[in-house]
């Protein structure tokens, strides 16, 4: 829209969502556009708010775990861990080795599954249908592993305060071992097929750029932060569980745009597979999967906040306890919620056609945004 040709434009309000496939759930965005340029975007959330924090105040700690599944339902394993980790920190529990390894294996497989789903749907947003079919086929293989382990494909309810609920069934470890090289090859193939595609490069480069300073100021974490050149990963920089035993890289890019986030997620899948491979090698032949915990879990009086690295960024749980078996107050730091608030800044001044590409690159899950 060149300004020399005095074309009269009017501001137009465009309502996107809450029922729109590219919003990945029930997310509504009120966009003001001038011609094709976005002048303002106002996110409206809360359509999936279920009051998890309120409900949890009347539940004991074991009962809360399935509720965490339903926040980030794309990566429920990390959510499980986020909650039990805080309770374990409060209680000062020692977790058996075998349980820790099982946890790390499922959490890293979960990261791969989550990024695969992002990869498929993101390219679908951009107009490419086939990557979705491939990505979902491979993701399904990981979900089948989880299904075998705990009987659910998405809402696992797998972890417990003190360990995990189920031990690996016979042959499971071997199957995962075989899966790792296969998945590595698949990711390489996707990379070759899609990343170099001219359309993809043109649509993602220089779009939705954020500087490192802004990323920190806006409380962004995870891939969003790493795409600005900040090598920050809680698995590496504040290791929890047994992450200090594994060798892995923290992929970073410096451009801070959608393409940077795209490339980082691809490399993160490879790094997660590296961790899974190492964990499978070190996996203890036998041992307990649950620490000795009392039948009724009571946390000592006081409060704790712990944070871990989820596929979508820094996820954390705050518990204020009054010594009972239920939390006095529980609060989840939900990375999608924190990351989404930068969206109006990212889309301002951009072309309307790029809005979906920018939203997709943040990788939100509405169950988590709305809590």
């Amino acid at each position: 829209m060149s300004s020399s040709t005095k074309l009269r434009t009017e501001e137009m309000l465009l309502n996107v969502g809450p029922q729109h496939p590219s919003t990945h759930g029930v997310f509504r965005l009120i966009v003001k556009i001038d011609g094709e340029t976005i002048t303002e975007a106002i996110p409206v959330i809360g359509y999936l708010h279920r009051g998890t924090e309120k409900l949890a105040e009347d539940l004991n700690y074991t009962q809360i775990i399935p509720y965490t599944d339903r926040m980030d339902y794309i990566a429920a394993m990390t959510n499980n861990y986020m909650m039990v980790h805080t309770v374990e920190t409060l209680m000062g529990l020692e977790i058996p080795e075998r349980a820790e390894y099982l946890r790390v294996i499922v959490m890293e497989l979960q990261r791969v599954a989550s990024h695969l789903l992002w990869f498929g749907t993101y390219l679908l947003d951009l107009g490419a249908l086939s990557p979705l079919l491939y990505a979902f086929a491979d993701r399904e293989k990981i979900l089948a592993f989880f299904n075998e382990l705990c009987g659910a494909r998405l809402t696992y309810n797998y972890m417990r305060v003190g360990g995990v609920k189920w031990d690996a069934p016979e042959g499971w470890i071997e199957k995962v071992k075989e899966f790792v090289p296969y998945m590595r090859k698949q990711i390489n193939d996707y990379h070759k097929l899609v990343t170099g595609n001219e359309v993809v490069i043109n649509r993602l480069t220089g779009i939705g750029v954020i500087t490192q300073e802004d990323a920190i100021n806006y409380s962004l974490s995870g891939v969003q932060l790493r795409s600005t050149g900040m090598a920050w990963d809680l698995r590496k920089d504040a290791p929890y569980s047994i992450y200090d035993r594994f060798k892995f890289e923290v992929p970073t890019e410096t451009a801070g745009d959608c393409f940077a986030r795209y490339k980082i997620r691809f490399r993160e899948m490879q790094e997660s597979l590296n961790i899974v491979e190492q964990a499978l090698e070190q996996f203890p032949k036998e041992g307990e999967i649950m620490a000795k915990v009392p039948r009724v879990l009571r946390t000592p009086q006081g409060e704790a906040f712990t944070r871990i690295e989820a596929p979508r960024g820094e996820i954390g749980c705050y518990i204020s306890s009054n010594g009972k078996d239920k939390p006095y107050r529980i609060k989840f730091r939900r990375p999608s919620f924190a990351n989404l608030q930068v969206l109006p800044k990212l889309v301002k001044g951009q072309n309307i056609a790029d809005m979906v590409a920018i939203l997709g690159s943040i990788d939100i899950v509405l169950g988590e945004v709305d809590g």
Binding site: R307, N322, R333
Partner: protein, 329 residues
């Protein structure tokens, strides 16, 4: 029906307190009776003291008692100094129970433990602490009771398997806390901080309680000052403690790799606190969420509206006295 559970009346509280007290008394009597039977054969401990009771056994007992008392008294004084009032009976009972349980864990010297527990209990009940102070009193009483029990066990020569706990080591994060407090008090004087301590339950995070009126200035300072440089806001939330509310932020400094938790106490009926959205842009939605669910108004926030619930919603659900509004009632 859950309302009754949420709002214990003063009578109920008093009743609970009395019950807890009676239980502790009974326990103490039982312990002493048991001790009277078995206290004979113990070897003598060092006895520099002044009690008129006969036997070294009793002197050692009295010493342990006095030690626990002194510690609990210190904790109580601290609670008072913090100017906190109120608190529920079961928390206090918990402090006593913790001390008791710990004492029972070690072998030998039953009577000293019982005394220590009872003393800690008595003092804890005397204290009028808020939750933090109570937690601290519990921890202190526990540590002291354990130490006393261990010392006693050693004195009686029956220290089989009793692990003599070391006096509590200073937290590894203590220097971090000291530095933060020093930098802040150099700028603002000592009265902006109501309290500062290490929260050992939460991975030893340094914790500050800042005066509500000064919070915005202190926040700006903590963000900008290069020795603090808390550039990242990890989480902002509120908690309703029934007599008051707390607004908390968890901050992180990527430069110094330190984290800190800062609390601001907020009046419950006039819940207002400065917004820090202009300092950390990421506080925007967190503060709106806290306003929505807890009713803490963040002054200076650019868009202080509900975020998760509909604009027409009545009340703030995470308040402990929340009753859902129903048009038909």
């Amino acid at each position: 029906m859950s309302e009754e559970k949420k709002k214990p009346t003063p009578e109920e509280k008093a009743k609970a307190a009395a019950a807890a007290k009676a239980a502790a008394e009974a326990k103490r009597k039982r312990m002493e009776a048991g001790a009277a039977q078995s206290a004979q054969g113990d070897a003598s401990a060092e006895a520099p003291s002044n009690t008129s009771e006969a036997g070294t056994e009793d002197i050692a007992k009295a010493k342990a008692d006095a030690a626990a008392k002194a510690k609990a008294a210190a904790a109580a004084a601290k609670a008072k100094a913090a100017g906190e009032t109120g608190g529920d009976a079961d928390a206090k009972a918990k402090a006593a129970a913790a001390a008791k349980a710990k004492a029972q864990g070690a072998t030998g010297g039953d009577d000293a433990k019982a005394k220590a527990a009872a003393a800690a209990k008595a003092k804890a009940q005397g204290a009028t602490g808020g939750d933090d102070a109570k937690a601290k009193a519990a921890a202190a009483a526990k540590a002291k009771a354990a130490a006393a029990a261990a010392a006693k066990a050693k004195a009686t020569g029956g220290a089989t398997g009793a692990e003599a706990e070391e006096p509590k080591k200073p937290s590894p994060k203590q220097p971090v806390l000291d530095k933060i407090v020093k930098v802040i008090t150099e700028k603002f004087g000592t009265d902006v901080l109501e309290d500062s301590y290490i929260n050992e339950l939460s991975e030893h995070i340094p914790t500050l309680i800042v005066k509500r009126e000064k919070w915005h200035e202190v926040a700006r300072f903590m963000h900008d000052h290069e020795e603090l440089a808390f550039d990242y806001l990890s989480l902002s939330l509120g908690v309703d403690y029934e007599t008051y509310m707390e607004s908390l932020v968890y901050l992180y400094s990527y430069k110094h790799r330190n984290n800190v938790c800062v609390k601001v106490k907020v009046d419950r009926d006039n819940a207002k606190v400065s917004s820090v959205m202009d300092i950390w842009a990421g506080a925007d939605w967190f503060e709106r969420e806290t306003y929505d669910l807890l009713g803490i108004t963040y002054e200076g926030h650019a868009n202080m509206k509900r975020i998760l619930l509909p604009d027409t919603w009545v009340g703030h659900p995470l308040r402990k006295d929340y009753v859902q509004y129903d048009e038909e009632v």
